[in-house]
Symmetry: C2
Subunit: 336 residues, 2 copies
DNA sequence: TAATGCAACTAAATCGGTTTAGTAAGAGGG
DNA sequence: CCCTCTTACTAAACCGATTTAGTTGCATTA
């Protein structure tokens, strides 16, 4: 049950491999009607399917890109992936998605593996810990785009939320709702990861702009498993925070679990504002007010940017790479 | 900035391509220490990375599998994908995921495309509408595994939930809770799709076993957009159902939205039982009782089965393919 | 009538690896 | 001293496409 190759088709049609190749690539310019018909017949009869590997080897294009997300558990990641896939499939480009699990070693492995597979370009949510690797790709002018996280000192197109604006939006809204004691919980800050860092600093700036004091104890960056503890800690402080911002969807989920378990009542016990507009936000009791990231747009823009880079590879019309910030949106429901 | 090839390495190390290849494949049997060292040095200096395409072309293995899901919006799909990826990445196999969007044409396109890419095998959530294609693969003894849906008259290993058991579990529990009027809503039944069909028939059987009459009006198979209407319709019937089963996660989500909008109260207005243990089930008010599918196990088993098929390709130790049913689990919370 | 042009192909190189068959050099045995 | 064996390599075919540089036969044209 061997697969049919182009040589088989050529032989059965009584023409050369070259002619079959021309036919398949619609280069009909000087091709006889007879020949075309004959080849079409043979292809039909044999069910011939071209081997993309061979083509890619010769053409040095695989029509495949790689996506490496830092942590696929974030809703944001899955939404961005969806958008990337949509854009790519429209252009008959395949996508290989890998999850680095926030582990730089895994990230390195995947980058290497995908490049060995000769993918035409890479969209990476960088862990930030493989600068040498990133830099090497930049040097080689390999098509590369970052999402969600900035890597300092590297000239790579990066698509991410305007985190500062997101926290300004959040704090402004909470202040408007008469809150003076606003706390924030987010996942661990041990590594310098853009969204977390920027959201914290955005939080500080926004508070300052409202002339509110910054309680260092109000800023909790802890591991997912410890969020429940961090929340309890916050609620034991004096003055007790009247509003809590969940720095991302995972944090929000943990806080909600605690709330359920401890039978807290939102917004009576405290106001809650989540970053990432999770699907169940309108279903919670009370419906959750959130800051939505335009994940789809970010993914779409990143994909388009990468595909453009890939297609302009030969030409030297490369723009200077930059940082592309997307505006958050406040979705008012009832948790504040 | 041309990529370094094996020939370049060979030249710089003063050996032949063959030797470099042997080195890379750890066939050190008859290799001098000097040579090894020299090659290692050159590889290090040049940052040489093998081109997988070329290798795959010769070896007729890409170390990549394809996964085609019928509809990625189902949580079940994403969980199965995660499990497949986990298993595959452990064995250094890449995964290309495609979403057929419940469209047979798309499914066909993806199957063709992935096979053209020479993926070593395919895990498919079949739409069921491409029997000729499926059959062709079976004939060719191409490594193929189905998930979630049976295709009649085809001998392919299929991994799915024991849907009948799931509905027995659901109905048993509701009856135990004194419900006599149990309705079920699920997404459209126009196409014969295993989970929906089997869940409905499981529902009928379970009711019969409890000597409960089957109200045809209690069975609603409608499009996602019409679920809200179907729910209203059910609640207007006499006798009014006291319990409603949501046939899958998408249905459940729509029902919950309606409940919120119409300010219904669960379980006072009616009991609600969802199939698929969605992440927010414990967070809803009241926490939702669900039937959980062992999605992770299903994905894992499917992946292992496929990899086994791939590895036993040459040998003729292929077992007879079969249907692998996985047992559901009732997760009792407070919505019934 | 020889040269030119054009349509309709084909031969062979190429992509970058793997793999098979083979070779050269030195050791050991008779 | 010749033969065989082993070690340490290499040449070349091969995988299945694309692509470039021809080639062939026939109709024009000077």
């Amino acid at each position: 049950m061997k697969r049919v190759t182009m040589a088989d088709v050529a032989e059965r049609a009584g023409v050369s491999k070259s002619t079959v190749s021309q036919y398949l690539n619609q280069r009909y310019e000087y091709m006889g009607e007879e020949t075309k018909k004959k080849i079409a017949e043979v292809i039909d009869a044999t069910g011939y399917q071209a081997n993309t590997l061979a083509r890619s080897l010769k053409q040095k294009r695989t029509f495949t890109i790689g996506v490496i997300v830092a942590n696929i558990l974030h809703i944001f990641s899955t939404q961005v992936i969806r958008a990337i896939e949509d854009v790519c499939h429209q252009q008959d480009i395949s996508v290989i998605v890998c999850n680095a699990d926030d582990d730089p070693k895994k990230e390195e492995k995947y980058i290497t593996m995908l490049r060995a597979k000769q993918v035409d370009g890479l969209i990476v949510f960088p862990t930030g810990e493989n600068k040498t690797l990133y830099d090497q790709m930049v040097q080689e002018r390999y098509p590369l785009v970052f999402v969600d996280r900035l890597v300092e000192g590297l000239s790579v197109d990066t698509f991410l939320l305007d985190n500062k604006a997101a926290l300004r939006l959040a704090v402004d809204y909470l202040v408007e709702k008469q809150h003076r004691y606003i706390a924030i919980i987010t996942t661990s800050l041990i590594r310098h990861v853009t969204p977390r860092v920027e959201r914290i600093s955005g939080y500080r700036i926004a508070l300052e702009q409202h002339d509110l004091p910054i309680h260092e104890e109000y800023i909790q960056g802890v591991n997912v498993e410890d969020i429940s503890i961090a929340l309890a800690h916050l609620l034991a402080l004096t003055p007790r925070p009247t509003a809590i911002i969940a720095g991302n969807d995972l944090t929000l989920m943990e806080i909600l679990k605690s709330i359920k378990r401890d039978k807290k009542h939102i917004p009576n016990d405290f106001a809650l504002l989540g970053i990432d507009d999770v699907a169940y936000a309108p279903l919670f009791e009370p419906p959750l007010t959130t800051i939505a990231q335009p994940a789809f747009q970010i993914g779409e823009a990143a994909a388009r940017c990468l595909l453009e880079k890939i297609n302009s590879e030969s030409m030297n019309d490369r723009r200077q790479p930059g940082i592309h910030r997307f505006q958050p949106k406040l979705v008012v429901r009832a948790s504040c």
